[in-house]
Symmetry: C2
Subunit: 212 residues, 2 copies
DNA sequence: AGCTCCATGTAAGTCGTTACATGATTCA
DNA sequence: TGAATCATGTAACGACTTACATGGAGCT
């Protein structure tokens, strides 16, 4: 149920159409919660049905034929947001395809294990850089979203609004760094195992999966 | 699609019934991939339909009425396992309810933020301890599963089998520690913000979510 | 006789993905 | 005139959850 609340949180900064919301989403919440545009549109309709947001039909462009639909938060939606933030969540069920595979790399060659660790490393280098850029923007209050939020909020709340977000991203950055150095350790681990085994560079599985 | 491959990997160590599989699962793969028993049963049927495992009906207990169904890996299943381990996965879509909330803690009171960080901390203390116990068992080859796997594999592969698993869990432990110290940082962050704001101990939201 | 564990599922529903479908506006 | 972007969705399917359903075996 995080999608709904993420959307409510975005709308708390002011009305947005589904499309704008989806784009804002990709630039902020998507770092912690991935969602497709199609899902955002359907969730918005559900939120409207539940009374947490309301929408209007607005003209788009000069001619009157094209239409867009700005959504805004209702009083109930604001209440739901407040309730949600007070609620303590259960630990999220862990579901990590890469770590499942990492447990069973012996079914492939050492060279394959290296490929896997390198790919993992590259993915997290990209994420780390993206997070770092974003946290920089947050610190400088330099995104459309954070500007809208600060504009709307009492100045006394500005520090908290920025600080909580920066702290959340600090965690993501630290996590990305962890994955990178862990992948590096994996790489040297593979090297040392291969050396100890006397094998070298071939593509034979370390332990070929077999029946029975 | 990690569930299927996790099940295949478990069966590579030898035949197991759905129930045994579910229990082994909870004690190993579940640390990286959560699944309910009901889902495991249905996935096993699907794997059988796809030809990756096969099952037999075996009597259970003395009387012949009760039945259990041991599954075993087929040649195709072993091949699929080998293919899977060679395949490089895309980065998993991020979906983390807690970090979504952590970005918006200003909608609650400072005291609430503390509650949230404390709950987060406690969850990861439990996980850390669980991982640490498990990695100890792995290192000592002291779980039913790892014993079966080592029994079956060539001695030359033993080191790799254990090392890859231990390394995977080392990552989970490091991650849990990260979350714990991050929660601690969060707690002192809240204290210092509250102090700077002159507020103290009440349950007023730092920035009450509002409409428009 | 009653409890715990072994054992195997089904059914309904939610959440999310993938692919499709359509068309207007804006700018070069 | 054509490409990029704005804009809003639907349909089918797959993965996962929750709740239900049943009953034997083994032990005290």
């Amino acid at each position: 149920m995080s999608l709904r609340h993420a959307l409510l949180a975005l709308l708390e900064a002011g009305p947005l159409t589904g499309y704008q919301l989806a784009k804002q989403f990709d630039r902020s919440v998507a770092f912690t919660w991935h969602a497709r545009h199609s899902q955002i549109y359907t969730e918005l309709r559900r939120l409207e049905h539940d009374g947490f947001v309301e929408s209007a039909e607005a003209p788009r462009g000069g001619s009157a034929r094209a239409v867009k639909r700005p959504y805004s938060l209702t009083r109930d939606g604001a209440g739901e947001l407040e309730r949600w933030v007070t609620e303590v969540e259960d630990a999220a069920p862990i579901r990590d395809p890469w770590h499942v595979k990492a447990q069973y790399l012996e079914f492939g060659s050492y060279e394959n294990a290296r490929r896997q660790f390198r790919a993992h490393r590259e993915q997290y280098v990209i994420l780390r850089d993206r997070y770092e850029r974003h946290v920089e923007d947050l610190r400088n209050a330099d995104t459309a979203l954070i500007k809208r939020r600060l504009d709307k909020a009492e100045p006394s709340a500005h520090r908290a609004i920025v600080t909580f977000k920066v702290h959340a991203y600090a965690n993501l950055i630290a996590r990305a760094r962890l994955e990178i150095s862990w992948a590096d350790e994996g790489l040297s681990l593979v090297d040392s195992m291969e050396l100890a085994d006397g094998a070298s560079g071939d593509e034979e599985p370390v332990h070929r999966p077999s029946v029975q």
